[in-house]
Amino acid sequence: MKLPIYMDYQATTPVDPRVLEVMVPWFTEKFGNPASRSHPFGWEAEQAVERARAEIATLIGADPREIVFTSGATESNNIAILGIARFHKSRGNHIITTVIEHKAVLDTCRHLESEGFEVTYLPVGTDGRLDPKRLADAINERTILVSVMAANNEIGVIQPLEEIGAICRKRQVHFHTDAAQGVGKMPLDVQALNLDLVSISGHKIYGPKGIGALYVRRRPRVRLQAVMFGGGHERGMRSGTLPTPLIVGLGAACAICSREMAAETARITALRQRMQEGIMKQLTHVAINGSTEYRLAGNLNISFAYVEGESLMMAIKDIAVSSGSACTSASLEPSYVLRALGVNEELAHTSIRFGLGRFTTEEEVDYAVRTVVDAVNRLREMSPLWEMVQEGIDLDSVRWAQH
């Protein structure tokens, strides 16, 4: 087993060697511009791009003509939200999203508020899921867009997309989902879910960084205003020369997901359960953040009470993970996602996200469990809070000097 162990698959994934292999020729000998119509260099590149487009479409039950290439899910989210809002502003100026969206959605919505749009940020339950009834109640005659993520990046919780899609279709409101974490890891069919726009990322599904896609429904046709202007590529929705090698990589990554998703999900779910049970059998005062039922296979987000997240990460430095603790970010606020679930600030500071994926092994999971258990025990011995709890003091009754 090689150290350090990578357990941060929600942050990014390595490129699958099978993906890299098919990308390579498109950097060197097959370097043509897919927009060049006058020679074979362009033709073969265009063919490769179209093949990839079909592979992506297949994964989500779409038509290849509904796939627009972008630089990644952040750009896809920007095009979807800005594009719909600006195109349809004569019809209405109201957008609905949730408080636990990725910053690429939240910041885009915030920006639209400065352009005169009204945004409703719906809360989620303690399990991290949006109640579709709340959404139905929030839609009004000015609502033009609902944007709800497929699966959350921090807690892996999957949203009730089918119910949301049915509501949006019935109320004739565009439905966008940021599926950066969901695509390739859970069944996602744009027809069954009534999705109008879907953001896709390459590097979360063992494809390259710097490439993504946006699904834009054709029937009924979804119209949006471009954000990037230029040569009119991608049917005017996203100008800019298509990066053939990256596109080929994204296509290959999606093709592998289509073939292997079911088996991979089963394998990773078993690993997550092994990890969860290993930790919970040996440690008390630990809590899983977010629904365990509606959850991506590879996400385990746990709070280890009385042990601060960053110091725990230092103690398990052989294992690459991330934390909801404030101390790991530039701001001093703990994770807004965990706070939205009603996790108190103290517990939010103690959370660790373990992200398992395609190349995680049982041996690595077992090593991680041992390391985490040892570290938590050691740090609890050093924790004044743990000492107080052992003495039977109720920490909530203590008057802390806030600073």
């Binding site: 601060e308 050093m382 809070l385």
Partner: protein
């Protein structure tokens, strides 16, 4: 976050972790910070009859810098008089550990912990009928 070696060294081999009897008249206990803020430091000092801090212990809930700051402080105050201990400033701690700006509050907390422990000790001494001015 990449830490410098001094923080890592204290974090990996923290000095003087533990607790002393908080009811002991010679022991002053300081507890600063709040769980909601992500750091709580408990610092204890034991002062001998000559007014010298002859032992110090800490327990800290917090990030690596917070643990290192408390560990460093216990090392520094041992063998010092109370006034000498009180003269330790957060700047000294931050400089010694080369803390980045976002971690300065850890050193502030460590300075507060010294004050809080001394205050507790002095209070106890007054209650215990011993002339606190002696130290």
């Amino acid at each position: 976050m990449a830490y410098n070696d001094k923080v890592l060294e204290h974090y990996e081999k923290p000095r003087n972790v533990g607790s002393m009897d908080k009811n002991d008249l010679q022991v002053g206990t300081g507890m600063v910070g709040a769980p909601a803020c992500g750091d709580v430091m408990k610092l204890q000092i034991r002062v001998n009859e000559n007014g010298i801090i002859d032992d110090a212990k800490f327990k800290t809930f917090g990030c690596g810098s917070a643990i290192a700051s408390s560990s460093l402080v216990t090392e520094w105050i041992k063998g010092k008089t109370i006034d000498q201990a009180l003269s330790i400033k957060n700047k000294d701690i931050a400089e010694e550990l080369a803390l980045p700006p976002v971690k300065i509050h850890c050193s502030v907390l460590a300075e507060d912990a010294i004050r809080s422990a001394v205050e507790d000790y002095r209070k106890k001494q007054q209650k215990g009928g011993v002339d606190a001015n002696r130290v």
